[in-house]
């Protein structure tokens, strides 16, 4: 697979940084090298947040920002279509959005015929499971379903490692539901 770089977009408190970390953990469990990092600055709840995951078969030496991601994942449905989210996304890269809309419509909104689109209504799924819009594990489910970058069971292992016992079950349920319900246009 070579290298795969992911940029996560959310708002402070949604769990974008945790999603980036969990994905890196899962990738390490799958035998890859991986690192995760947030956009560096002063964090505050509600503000736009970016986080990054870098995955490779070879050791990752650099600590440079990801400028041309292979995938962008949009946790906040209100950010779908924003220029900042599309910035640098590779041609034939993945645009993965939390939205009720279908992927064809998203592709029209973002105006990029050269990218693949995956959508999942993560907010609805998360409200059913958590009674709160905590969508990060759902979006990882959508990412791994669409891209196949890491096996689902490795993400589940990472979730088990990362969360306290009582949060493991609901997070895995949400992860699987998102994995199953993702819609894709390539």
């Amino acid at each position: 697979m070579g290298r795969f770089e992911i940029r996560w977009h959310g708002r402070g408190g949604m769990g974008a940084v945790t999603a980036a970390e969990l994905t890196a953990m899962a990738a390490v469990k799958a035998g890859y090298y991986a690192v995760a990092f947030p956009e560096f600055g002063a964090e505050r709840r509600g503000a736009p947040v970016k986080a990054y995951t870098r995955i490779d078969e070879e050791p990752i030496y650099e600590k440079t920002p990801i400028e041309e991601p292979d995938a962008v994942v949009v946790l906040d449905s209100s950010m779908v279509g924003q220029e900042a989210v599309l910035h640098g996304l590779k041609s034939s890269g993945w645009y993965i959005a939390n939205t009720a809309k279908d992927p064809e419509e998203i592709r029209r909104i973002i105006g990029r015929d050269d990218v693949k689109v995956a959508t999942v209504n993560a907010t609805k799924l998360a409200m059913e499971v958590f009674k709160a819009p905590i969508v990060n594990t759902a979006m990882i489910g959508a990412l791994v379903a669409a891209t196949g970058i890491v096996p689902l069971e490795k993400v589940e292992e990472a979730v088990r490692d990362r969360f306290p016992e009582r949060y493991v079950g609901p997070n895995i349920k949400l992860l699987r539901q998102a994995y199953e319900s993702v819609r894709v246009v390539v």
Partner: protein
């Protein structure tokens, strides 16, 4: 990637795990970005009962290091951490800790100094500490950041050394980046660094005075002894890293050579930028047939002058990347100054050029590294007389 269990840890958390494994007795610190989560995590370990240590809440970094000096003088294994303005505020006490020969370990998440206020990464704070008499190391991975804390106590508490040690990581680029880290457990750490008071401590039954007036009859001898202790620190560093490798299987050298076996050119760098250079060498330079290597300085004080001069003597040209400026100096960047003196004293004629890059958190990109490599290659066939007398300021708006 078999072996022991790896945890996804930020640079800060990796350091906190190491301080826990070292079973520190006293943590005296004042939070500052981007170092904050080191001390937060340690406070959590103490609150959970995972670490039996005294956390001293202080009102400033000056007090944090003062309390660390007091606790160390009482025989405690002491840990603190800081960055930037915090280091600047500790400055007075840093000289006192080293001169009183107290084996304090301080982690530094390097960050630019004000003004203007800037919470992001460069080496201004680290380089400002370079003449304070502390042993200084800088890591370039989170695993190394973790291991350095364990190594630091080994060196600091060695009876021939007894000097405080700084273990640095790059703020944000490492402090906030998650990498797989294999943490050292307390039991194995304490076999490597047994808790034994090797230094003179305050004891009511055998009273001593510490840090009194040193008149002209005596002061100079103290400084001469510190100079010797620093030289000893180098010997002990070499012993400690050998034993570390035998125990934990990871090898560290004062200078890391990357792709240097057949190299004709090299960049000298420290910290996370050294990682960027490694990636550039593998992904770009070598693919284009450029015989470029990296000389990564891990141990900054005492400076590994002999090794660096030796490796440079065989090269066609060398570029030194500085993440700080020594304003008004004859050289430009501090790492360049040390590299240049090491080579000059040994009569080495290889052209060595200086690059200043990435101040105040500006990323040092592949494009920047290419600019530096091109400028280094341009010195092929030249001598040191041909080297620009001013540093190249990489990525700045003029």
């Amino acid at each position: 990637m078999a072996g022991k269990k790896k945890l996804p840890l930020s640079g800060n958390t990796a350091i906190a795990y190491a301080a826990k494994a070292a079973d520190v007795d006293v943590i005296s610190a004042y939070p500052i970005t981007p170092q904050t989560t080191i001390v937060e995590k340690l406070a959590e370990f103490v609150a959970n009962g995972e670490l039996n240590a005294e956390v001293i809440h202080v009102e400033s970094e000056h007090s944090a290091l003062s309390a660390a000096v007091g606790a160390s003088a009482a025989g405690a294994r002491v840990f603190t951490a800081s960055s930037s303005q915090g280091i600047a505020l500790m400055y007075e006490i840093m000289f006192i800790a080293s001169s009183m020969r107290l084996p304090i370990v301080m982690a530094m998440a390097t960050r630019a100094l004000s003004a203007p206020i800037n919470i992001w990464n460069d080496h201004g704070d680290f380089m400002a500490a370079s003449d304070t008499g502390w042993v200084m190391m800088m890591a370039h991975t989170n695993q190394e950041a973790h291991d350095d804390v364990i190594l630091a106590y080994k060196i600091a508490e060695h009876p021939d050394v007894l000097l405080p040690v700084i273990t640095a990581i790059d703020g944000y680029f490492m402090s906030h980046t998650i990498e797989p880290v294999e943490p050292i457990e307390r039991e194995e750490a304490l076999k490597f660094i047994p808790k034994k008071v090797t230094w003179r401590v305050l004891d009511p039954d055998n009273p001593v005075t510490m840090g009194p007036l040193g008149t002209p009859e005596w002061y100079y001898e103290f400084k001469r002894q510190q100079h010797e202790a620093m030289k000893k620190a180098r010997e002990v560093f070499d012993e400690a890293t050998k034993e570390f490798e035998k125990t934990f299987g990871r090898n560290y050298e004062p200078v890391e050579y990357f792709m240097m076996d057949d190299a004709e050119y090299a960049l000298v760098a420290m910290g996370s930028v050294a990682g960027n250079v490694k990636a550039y060498i593998v992904r770009e330079a070598r693919k284009r047939g450029i015989k470029l290597g990296l000389i990564r300085v891990k141990l900054f004080r005492p400076f590994p002058a002999e090794e660096i001069a030796e490796v440079i003597s065989n090269l066609k040209a060398v570029g030194v990347i500085d993440r700080a400026l020594a304003f008004g100096s004859s050289y430009g960047g501090p790492l360049y100054g040390d590299t240049l003196s090491a080579a000059y004293i040994r009569g080495i004629d290889t052209p060595i050029v200086n690059f200043v890059a990435g101040l105040g958190g500006r990323p040092v990109t592949f494009h920047d590294i290419k600019t530096m490599v091109d400028a280094t290659l341009a010195l092929d066939g030249k001598t040191r007389k041909d080297v620009p007398k001013e540093p190249y300021f990489i990525g700045v708006r003029e």
